[in-house]
Amino acid sequence: MSQKNRLASGGRIDRSKSLRFKYNGREYQGYQGDTLASALLANGVDIIARSFKYSRPRGIVAAGAEEPNAVLQLGATEATQVPNVRATQQELFNGLVSSATNGWPNAEMDLMSYVGKVGGRMMPPGFYYKTFMYPQSMWETYEKFIRKAAGLGRSPLENDPDIYDKLNHHCDVMIVGAGPAGLAAALVAARSGARVILADEQSEFGGSLLHSGEKINGRPAVEWVAETVAELEKHPEVLLLPRSTVNGYHDHNFLTIHQRCTDHIADQAPKGQVRQRMHRVRANWVVLATGAHERPLVYGNNDVPGCMVASAVSTYINRYGVVPGNELVLMTTNDYAYQTALDWADAGRKVVAIVDTRQSPKGARIEEARKRGLNIITGSAVIDVQGSKRVSGVQVAPIDAKGDKVTGSVERLSCDTVASSGGWSPVIHLSCHTGSRPEWRDDIIGFVPGKTVQRQLTAGGINGTYSLRKVLEEGATAGAKAAESAGFADAAKGIALPLSEEVKEGPAMALFHIPHTKPTARAPKQFVDLQNDVTAAGIELATREGFESIEHVKRYTAMGFGTDQGKLGNINGMAIAAKSLNQSIPETGTTIFRPNYTPITFGAIAGRDCGELFDIKRYTAMHKWHVEHGALFEDVGQWKRPWYFPKAGESMQQALDRECKATRDSVGILDASTLGKIDIQGKDAREFLSRVYTNAWAKLGVGKCRYGLMCGEDGMVFDDGVTSCLAENHFLMTTTSGGAARVLEWLELYHQTEWPEMEVYFNTVTDQWATMTISGPNSRKLLAELTDIDLDNDSFKFMDWRQGKVAGVPARIFRISFTGELSYEINVQANYGLFVWEKLFEHGAKYNLTPYGTETMHVLRAEKGFIIAGQDTDGSVTPIDLGMSWCVSNNKPFSYIGKRGMAREDCIRTDRKQLVGLKTKDPKKVIPEGSQAVNDPKQAIPMTMLGHVTSSYYSANLGHSIALGMIRNGHNRMGETVYYPQADGTVIEAEICSPIFLDPKGERQNV
């Protein structure tokens, strides 16, 4: 099919570069410089969608971000599918593949439209809420059908092959929109030397100047645009971002810009190139020069393909060399739109009539139209459109001066295109994002940005300023003010304002909804929000039903909730609601826009923070060894910790049994480097420890270690670990692996805010030390082969630490034990970690030195009844609940953190849940962790639960299962039986016992 609507010349397209593309399986041609929409229009494609609710055929109505209908599916392959691409914003490229998103079998011949035609009347706003209720059980069946109609485009089913990126920026002046106001602002700001970012959603800078045909400094405006852009490109501190939408304006002048780097060639882009980039901008000052969107009028059957916004028609003609029809009827409430009729006539096609809703309009453009002999019908309106898949004619009727009713007889005019203009709505979206409420202005018939606390200026159309001369002036002034305020004095000096002629315009009429001879409810459908099929009748119905707040109206009718966010419809909808409620628009409310200005790809927001880089993997110095020795890993916070080291053919349980036995029988080794470590220096270090731990620290001698529990002010355990006295004023604290950062911040909080007079410094040394724990009866023998330290039990006792060398590397060795065995925790500077680890294995072979991971560590410590904070505690457990009153000192002079909390009424109840040991009646049966205890498993549901199993394992050393768990009043129920009902209906019986299953006297660690 030839490009029947393409003009032979004119526009900014390159007719020498022909591009082939597909829409709904058919091949078409367009030119470089086209959008998908202009190319479709050039080819005479009328129907590009079926409407959401009524399945009515829809065509392209606008030329930019405000387009509600032309929302297409894009992509040549499954992986490069993009749902919901706005054809008016998609640049055409060779090989583009697109299709309509609704309609069966296709948008052209949609069978659902019969349902829409017949059932449409059954679907007023809120009809879902009024029906599908009975019987109750049927809703999910009804819903299946409702869901069939959901959605526009579809998600790809394959993973995204493209990459996305983020860039952070700081600038003095951020200018949003590169139309006349934005360019003028940028020019002035740039010349001051300020750091300027200028972003525009379109592929070219210039905004309305690209199609308006206006003049600046006596020459075509596009020449001024080219010169200005050329100069801006030369300024080193200016960043120009075309194809970049400022989608969000956040607090303290933070803006996000969505740049489409390869969307204009989409799946034809070379591999490895960034598809889209988010710019995160912190601006000192912001200039919003976002312009305005033309409002269509609301009239009967105004959704028939061929009904368009007036300025869009001009844009297609002047920018793309496309006349989207043959015979035009223009309906307008204002002078400016006459330009569309003039452009249409200039393109050599027939202007059937200009229907002006005003009784006696006067202005320069009107004069021009009259001069050209165009048929102007004043005091009238297009009240209805004829045609189904394309406009075939209109009904024109005289209306009263207020536009409330039809006052005379209806005349039919034949035409194929209806352009309408109800005036302009400033693009205030961004200014709303930071919480500023727009203000209504009667003189411009629109909302403008309201008060703001941001360092924000506005220029041009966003202020309701539409004369080019004034737009340029406002732009230059805003650019100068922004630069000056950002510290570039005299920015305004010597700037020659670009000049443009003033065009005389008469006043516009505040008209939104065209009356019909019938009441709205009985008139042909008059669409307000095309994407959501919201009609004037729907809005009136909503207000009649009592939805009087504009927010209610919007929610009840879904107006403005589409992907266009009501850019065309919202103001019309508000006006209709206001009229129906007999109040003014500002009384009815305002319209608050949220980010995004236009939709933003999830991938772009995620940037590189997905896949391998989704979250940090922290490794210890010995990680490589673990990998090479077949470890499986457990995620502990961000750490990758060896979980267990299975040998070929071993099950997990077999590996654990082997690791556990080897440790208890000979010697095992654990990489404990992930434990948090905090270096504490200062003369008040000891006192500080006394305040943050629940137990006593006053008498811990140099060379000694002690276990400590840390509570919040509420008395609940939140971390634990061993702290060693390195010297009188020097301690090394260890924390849980996941709790290190939190504990350090906790210590700093108290030091900086409560006790700043205390002389103490805290520094993290988690990463400084590689920590390897050898544990088991042979650990001394093994270590003795490698160290100069006297390991004799009398000189190096349990809970002592010593400094010396291990394998020739300076080391601190802590004789502490989390397994209950004779244990040494060797700390060396992490650079030597792997070296020492390997030396231990060189010497350890004869002792069957066995590496073990977190799982074996858990079993071994559970055999001893040692808790793991975060597993056996959950933020609701006091040290007393844990049976660890031995670790609570109430004789300390200072009321340490947690002491008062523990003494609250609920915390001293005797029937609290308490940590106990659990021994199953069937020794082989391991109670699943998380099982809930009951006294009587036969009781009715809901059962009275006593507490859950926190840790549970099979102990190869003991030959039976062991568990720790919370039991209400458990400390007083030793020897009693509790029951654990399982999901499969079985019940596991267990006896409450001491949590210390092995070596209750602690002899093994003292040998």
């Binding site: 952070n168 300076p810 650079n831």
Partner: protein, 226 residues
């Protein structure tokens, strides 16, 4: 250099209780030391990888890193630092001083990061301790972090991808040092030359930073220097 002070010995000396534990953590050449990026084998990449690109990465490994803590109101501390180092600790926020093979970075009003050749760490620590008075702390973190140097015309772009901090000339002159967000972790970022920047990162995060830098500089070409 490898003298060790066992706690016993100190405790036994009742007249001068050793207030803090001192320890030369360095072993001899027979004991293999591995920097945090050892596993990435940057040397091989340097040999076999690309020689041209917009970003050059070099790990300055196994240096001596000392965290120095003290109050700027404590003259004995400041004067001691001057005496031991031969220059003042920079008290201007976000500034750094580099003299010879020693460099010190302002981290916080009471915290500095001193980097010296690896073998000097203990000696410098001892000198500082000897010279400083009042309440202060020194912590050897040489094993816990490493220094990455990024250079080349596109480093600034890589930084802009990685940190929300403003790395523009006007805000980040040579010599300035900031601790900020770096990708999902953090780094002490110092500008050491026109197109040269230094990152100090923590050991356990080093592999992540290495992955990140490879990814972020891919479009400019990454050259690894041994």
């Amino acid at each position: 250099m490898s003298e060790m002070i066992a706690p016993e010995k100190v405790a036994a000396n009742a007249d001068a209780i050793q207030e803090v534990a001192r320890m030369d953590q360095l072993a001899g050449p027979a004991q293999r030391a591995e920097s945090p990026l050892h596993h990435a084998d940057l040397d091989t990449i340097a040999k076999k990888g690309p020689k041209n690109g917009g970003v050059t990465l070099q790990e300055h490994k196994l240096l001596g890193h000392l965290v120095i803590r003290g109050s700027q109101d404590n003259q004995a501390f400041l004067a001691g630092a001057r005496e031991a180092l031969g220059f003042d600790l920079p008290t201007e926020p976000l500034s750094s001083v580099e003299q010879g093979d020693r460099s010190v970075r302002w981290i916080a009003p009471d915290e500095w990061l001193l980097i010296v050749p690896g073998e000097d760490a203990f000696q410098v620590e001892e000198q500082l301790r000897a010279a400083m008075g009042g309440h202060f702390a020194i912590v050897n973190v040489s094993g816990g972090q490493t220094v990455l140097e990024l250079s080349g015309p596109d480093v600034r772009m890589v930084l802009k991808k990685s940190t929300p901090y403003d790395v523009h000339d006007r805000n980040f002159p040579v010599g300035k040092v900031v601790t900020s967000v770096f990708a999902k972790t953090q780094a002490v970022i110092r500008r050491t030359g026109e197109d040269r920047w230094e990152l100090v990162i923590r050991r356990s995060f080093a592999d992540y930073v290495w992955l990140w830098l490879q990814d972020a500089s891919a479009e400019f070409g990454l050259v690894v220097k041994a």
